[in-house]
Symmetry: C2
């Protein structure tokens, strides 16, 4: 017997592990930057990696709040910390918040239509994948920044 269009692919717990696995890798990319370069280095006029990480942080917990409560805040990047250690502490706080909010998602919610931050319309599973993919996309940029600094990035397959 073959799959149908409606066959299921991965569970809620597997999607959470997928996201946190990527977040764990992104944390190691943040760590791999020298303290100053994290906030200043860029290629091709793009944003430094700290700004990309602050975009991710501005989306992580706020997205989960929107998914859980069906009420969305306005999007804004997280506030800039004054050091790499400060950024890592913000990252770890979001990790705990994500784990705490995840089990509060209402049953059936992944297939509901919604508009993330009042702007991006799609089903809730699509919104969550969008946030995860956005992180992978920007982290790929971070790999180029690191290489251009002569720094070996963490392995992509380690989560």
């Amino acid at each position: 017997m073959k799959i149908s269009n409606d066959s299921q692919t991965l569970t809620a717990q597997q999607l959470l592990e997928h996201w946190q696995g990527h977040r764990s890798l992104t944390r190691r990319v943040i760590e791999a930057f020298p303290d100053d370069k994290l906030f200043t280095h860029s290629v091709g006029g793009m944003r430094p990696f700290a700004e990309l990480a602050l975009e991710m942080l501005g989306m992580t917990t706020p997205t989960m709040e929107g998914v859980v409560t069906r009420t969305w805040p306005t999007y804004s990047p997280a506030e800039k910390p004054d050091s790499k250690q400060g950024l890592l502490a913000m990252w770890d706080k979001a990790t705990v918040e994500l784990n705490a909010l995840w089990p509060q998602i209402p049953e059936g919610r992944f297939q509901e239509d919604d508009k993330a931050f009042g702007m991006w319309a799609g089903k809730v599973h699509w919104i969550l994948l969008y946030i995860i993919d956005n992180e992978i996309h920007h982290r790929g940029q971070g790999y180029v920044y690191l290489r251009s600094l002569g720094i070996e990035p963490p392995h992509f397959w380690e989560r």
Copy 2:
């Protein structure tokens, strides 16, 4: 009622659309490169974007064959074409192959354990997400290459 660990997130058809949506964006990134730069330009000693795209192509149809048949070939990147048009033709061929192979996936297969290309062990849904994420990751590098050439990449949110 809240979700449980086993709640379902997205269907087979939605996962296919997710993948093909990303592939459509990657195709536009290939198109955005000038013909020569596609095969030669790099930042930080990394591979030119054509080589990254050939890695993706070496994974797309072969992964689907492994998922459908449970028999894996050895991994190798796709053979280098002699032009951007040649690469785009290979991309379009894989698009058709992916659509044709997808409905042949055996029911229940997304939760089976397997070893992609005899090397990467995980459940089949994890293997598929890995291949998709690998494309997003390398395409993010392509965005930096384009910016460093002064070229505006396609919007990340357009699929």
